[in-house]
Amino acid sequence: MLGGVASAQKIAFEEYNLDNGMHVILHNDSSVPVVVTSVMYHVGSKDETPDRTGFAHFFEHLLFEGTENIKRGEWFKIVTSNGGVNNANTSDDRTYYYEVFPSSNLELALWMESERLMHPVINKIGVDTQNGVIKEEKRSRYDNQPYGNIIGAVKENMFKKHPYRWTTIGSMEHLDASTLEEFQAFNKKFYTPNNAVLVVAGDFENAKAKEWIQKYFGSIAKGETLKKETFVEEPITQTIHANYVDHNIQIPMLIATYRTPSMKTRDARVLDLISSYLSDGKSSKLYKKIVDEKKMALQIDAVGFSQEDYGMYILYGLPMGTHTSAELLKEIDEEIVKIQTELISEKDFQKLQNTFDNRFVNKNATLEGIAENLATYYLLYGDINLINTEIELLHSITREEIRDVAKKYLNPNQRLILDYVPSATAPN
C-alpha cells in the first residue's frame, strides 16, 4: 500500500549550481501550458536584530517597488500585461517570490526575478510608502481581527533567546527608526545568489531554460558567505503562565503551547501525527470528547507550527457558556496522558497512515505547490529528495514512538498556558 501511494506521484527534478552559488531546480510538467518561476531566499525574521524587527517582511514589499530596468509601479503592470500572476510571502525562516505565466513567458519571468536580485531600487519614497502600508497590514490582519494576535503572544513567551520570539510583521517603531542605509545593507547581505534557490516548474524546454538562467542570473556577483547563527533555548521546566488582552473579543481562549524541535527532526514528524490524532476531523480524540460529547467548547484545535530551528505545538480552545479554560485544559491533559502511557489503537494508527497518505498526494497537487515544496525541501530541510520520500519516513513511525515522543515533549511543566482574554472595558 505504501509503495502504491508513494510511486503514484514521483516528482522528477533536475538541480545544479551556477558559478555564483545560486542553486537551480527544474521540474517539467507539460500537462498545462503554465510555468512557475520562483526564488526562495534564506532570510526570514529570525535573521533580524532585536532592535530592527520586521525587516525581512518589509523586503517582500520593497522588492516590488522597482529595479534599474523596471520603473517604480511597473512590476505588476508587466506581470498582468503578459498574462501572469505573482506574489510573495515571508516567514521566520525564508522569503519567497513567485510568478505564474502562460508557458510563453518564461524568459520574461527569469528576467524579472534576476532584476529583483541584481539591481533593486531601494530608496526613500519606497521605504516611506511601504512603511505606511505595512502598518495598515498589521492593523487589518492582527489588531482589528478577533483573536488576531495569538501567534505573537505565544511566541514572545515561548522564546527567550531565539529571534522566533518576535513576529514576522515586526515592530513598527523599529521600522520607523531605521535608516535607508540599513535597508540597503540588509539587501546586500541577504539578497545574494548564493543565499537563494531558483525553481522553474511547468511546461518549458530544459535547454532553453538553462540558457536563459545563465544569461540572466549567471553574471550576478556572489555575495558574502553567510553563517546562520544558532540560538539555543533553555528547556522549559516550569509552566509559563501569561495572559494577553484582546479588545476585539468577548470569549476568552485557552492556549497551551509546547516547544518542539526543528521540523527537520524525526520527533517533529511524530508530533505531526500526534496533532492529527488529537484534533484532525470529527472523530479525533479532542474534538469528539470536548466539542461533541461534553459540549464544553465551541472549538478545539491543535496546530503544529513547524520551523527550521524550533517549532511550537499549539493547542487552543474556546470554552462554551459557563465552562472554563481550566476545564478544557483538564480534558486535554487526560488525552495527552493516555498517549503517554498507552499505545494508540491499531485502528487509530492505520487511520493516521491513511490521513498522511491523502495529505501527501494533495501536497503536490498543483504546480505552484510543487515549486514551493522543492524550494523548501532544498533550502530549509537540506534534502530535496524528501519531496518523494517523506511519506516513507512518516510510515516508519511506530506506535511506541508516538507514546515516547508524547512523553518527551508534552508534559505540563514544559508548556506555556496563555489566557487570551477580552478587555474589561472598551479602549479609549
Binding site: V5, A8, G83, F101, N105, T129, S140, Q145, I249, L318
Partner: protein, 454 residues
C-alpha cells in the same frame, strides 16, 4: 552588466487553447452529472452543488445555517460516530452543507466515500440532541464575533444595500436563532435539498463507465421535487450619495465601503465591460484605488472593488480598511477614483494590459480539470451560450474604452451610493462632517439611530 544590456524579453508564441468538455449524463430526477477524468494523481473529488434561488428566512433567520451545520453528522442508516470515524479512517474529507456536499479522497477509497456522501446528504438524521448542540455553538459564535469590526461592517453593508426584508440583506441574531425549531430544520431540508437544480461534478482518477452506474444507484432514488418560486422586493438604491456611519469604539481602522445594487448577468452584453471597469477601479495592485490609497498614500494594506454577477440582484462594492486618522481623506479619494472611471476614458494601453491579464489567466486555467468542470457548470447555471468559452478571448479583445466607460456609468452609481463606514466614531466623525456629505448613523445591526454622543 549595464542596465541597458538587459532589455525586457519579448513573449514567446502563446500556447494554443483547447477547451475540453466533461462527460455528462442526467438522472430522471433532474440531477446533472459531470465527469472529468484525470489520472495524474490517485485522487478524486466529488462536488454536489444545489443551484437554488436565495430565499428569505425572516423570523427564523439562521435556520439554513443551522441545517447546514447539522447535515452529514451520520445518516438515518449509519450512526454519527461510526460515520465520522469511517470518513476519517479512510483519510478522506467530506464537507456537508445545506447547499450540497464536497468530498476528496484517494481514488482507492473513492467508491466508499461517494457512498458516504450520498448517505449523509440524502438521508440526514436530524436529532434534537444535535440540534441543541449546534444551536448553542451558533449562539457562542455570534458572541465571539460581536466586536469584530470587519464582521460588523459586512453585516451592515448587506442590510443597508439590500434591505432587511431581502434574502441578501437579512442577518442572523440571537433573537431569530432562538425562534428556530427542529421541525424548521427538517422543513428547510425537505424544501430546498432537492435534485431539481442539482449538479454532481466528479473530477479525478475515476472511469466514466465505472462511476456512472454507481451514481445512478446512489442518487437515482433521490425524490424529484421543485423548490418554491418566490419573489422579493427589488432593493432600491439611495436617492443621493450619503455616509452611513456605524460607531465601533474598539476599531483601530475604519472599514469603508461604497455600495450600490445592480443586476448583471454573465450573458449580458455589458458583462465583460463591467467586469473590466471594476478590475481597473479596484481589481489588482495597479488598480486606481490601490495605486491611490495604498501606493500613493500608504493609508491601507489594500483597496479593492468587486462587482457581483449572476441571476439575482447583486452589488458593486469598493472597499478598504483605512487608517482611522485619514478616514475622511480616503472617502474623498474613493469618490475621485469612481468619478474618474465614469468620466475619463481608459487608455488603450491600460485596457490592453487588463485584457492580457484576463486572457493569460484563462489560458493558464482552461486545461485544468477544475476549470473544465467549472466552465461547464457556469454554462448550465448561468444560461450561457454553449460557445461562451470558445469565444472568451475574442469577446474580451472586442471590449473598447467606450464600452468600459459606458458600463462604469451604468453600474457604478456614484450619485446613488451609500458610503458605509464602521470605525471609531470619536476619532473619525468630526473629519467626516467636514466633507458636507449627508451623514446618517446606524447601530451595529444597521438600525438607524441618532448621532452617538462622543
Amino acid at each position: 552588466m549595464h542596465p541597458q544590456a538587459r532589455p525586457q524579453p519579448k513573449p514567446g508564441v502563446s500556447p494554443v487553447v483547447n477547451i475540453k468538455k466533461p462527460q455528462t449524463f442526467v438522472l430522471d430526477n433532474g440531477l446533472k452529472v459531470m465527469i472529468v477524468e484525470n489520472h495524474k494523481l490517485p485522487r478524486v473529488t466529488f462536488n454536489l452543488a444545489l443551484d437554488n434561488e436565495p430565499f428569505f428566512e425572516g423570523t427564523i433567520k439562521g435556520v439554513d445555517e443551522l441545517c447546514n451545520n447539522m447535515i452529514g453528522n451520520g445518516s438515518i442508516k449509519i450512526a454519527k460516530d461510526a460515520f465520522n470515524e469511517e470518513i476519517d479512517f479512510l483519510g478522506a474529507n467530506i464537507n456537508f452543507g445545506s447547499k450540497g456536499a464536497y468530498a476528496s479522497s484517494l481514488s482507492k477509497y473513492s467508491g466508499r466515500i461517494l457512498e458516504l456522501l450520498a448517505h449523509g446528504a440524502l438521508h440526514p438524521n436530524f436529532t434534537q440532541e444535535e440540534f441543541e448542540k449546534e444551536k448553542a455553538k451558533l449562539f457562542e459564535g455570534l458572541k465571539a464575533e460581536e466586536k469584530s469590526v470587519p464582521a460588523i461592517a459586512h453585516r451592515v453593508v448587506e442590510a443597508l444595500a439590500f434591505g432587511k426584508n431581502h434574502p441578501s440583506g437579512e442577518y442572523m441574531s440571537e433573537e431569530t436563532l432562538k425562534n428556530v425549531t427542529l421541525a424548521d430544520i427538517k422543513k428547510n431540508y425537505e424544501t430546498y435539498f432537492v435534485p431539481e437544480n442539482a449538479y454532481l461534478v466528479i473530477i479525478g482518477d475515476v472511469k466514466y463507465n465505472e462511476v456512472k452506474p454507481i451514481v445512478e444507484n446512489l442518487f437515482g432514488p433521490w425524490k424529484k421535487r421543485s423548490t418554491p418560486k418566490l419573489t422579493y422586493p427589488a432593493p432600491q438604491n439611495v436617492a443621493f450619495t450619503q455616509i452611513n456611519f456605524v460607531d465601533v469604539p474598539n476599531a483601530v481602522q475604519s472599514e469603508i465601503s461604497l455600495v450600490n445594487t445592480l443586476n448583471l448577468k454573465m450573458s449580458d452584453k455589458d458583462f465583460f465591460p463591467a467586469v473590466m471597469a471594476t478590475y481597473i477601479l479596484g481589481g489588482d495592485y495597479t488598480s486606481y484605488l490601490n495605486m491611490n490609497l495604498r501606493e500613493k498614500h500608504g493609508w491601507t494594506y489594500g483597496a479593492s472593488a468587486t462587482i457581483g454577477s449572476g441571476k439575482y440582484v447583486t452589488k458593486l462594492k469598493a472597499a478598504s480598511a483605512i487608517r482611522s486618522a485619514v478616514t475622511d481623506s480616503a472617502v474623498v479619494e474613493f469618490i475621485k477614483e469612481i468619478k474618474k472611471i465614469r468620466t475619463e476614458k481608459v487608455s488603450v494601453e491600460l485596457l490592453n494590459n487588463v485584457k492580457a491579464g484576463y486572457i493569460g489567466r484563462f489560458v493558464m486555467q482552461v486545461q485544468k480539470p477544475q476549470a473544465i468542470a467549472r466552465y461547464a457548470l457556469n454554462i448550465e447555471t448561468e444560461n450561457l451560450p454553449t460557445d461562451f468559452y470558445e469565444n472568451y478571448i475574442k469577446t474580451i479583445n472586442a471590449v473598447t474604452p467606450d464600452d468600459v466607460m459606458r458600463a462604469a456609468n451604468k453600474y457604478f452609481l456614484l450619485d446613488n451610493t451609500r458610503i458605509i463606514i464602521a470605525g471609531k466614531g470619536s476619532e473619525v466623525i468630526p473629519g467626516l462632517e467636514k466633507l458636507k456629505i449627508p451623514m446618517f448613523y446606524f447601530d451595529i445591526y444597521g438600525n438607524p439611530i441618532e448621532k452617538p454622543v462622543l
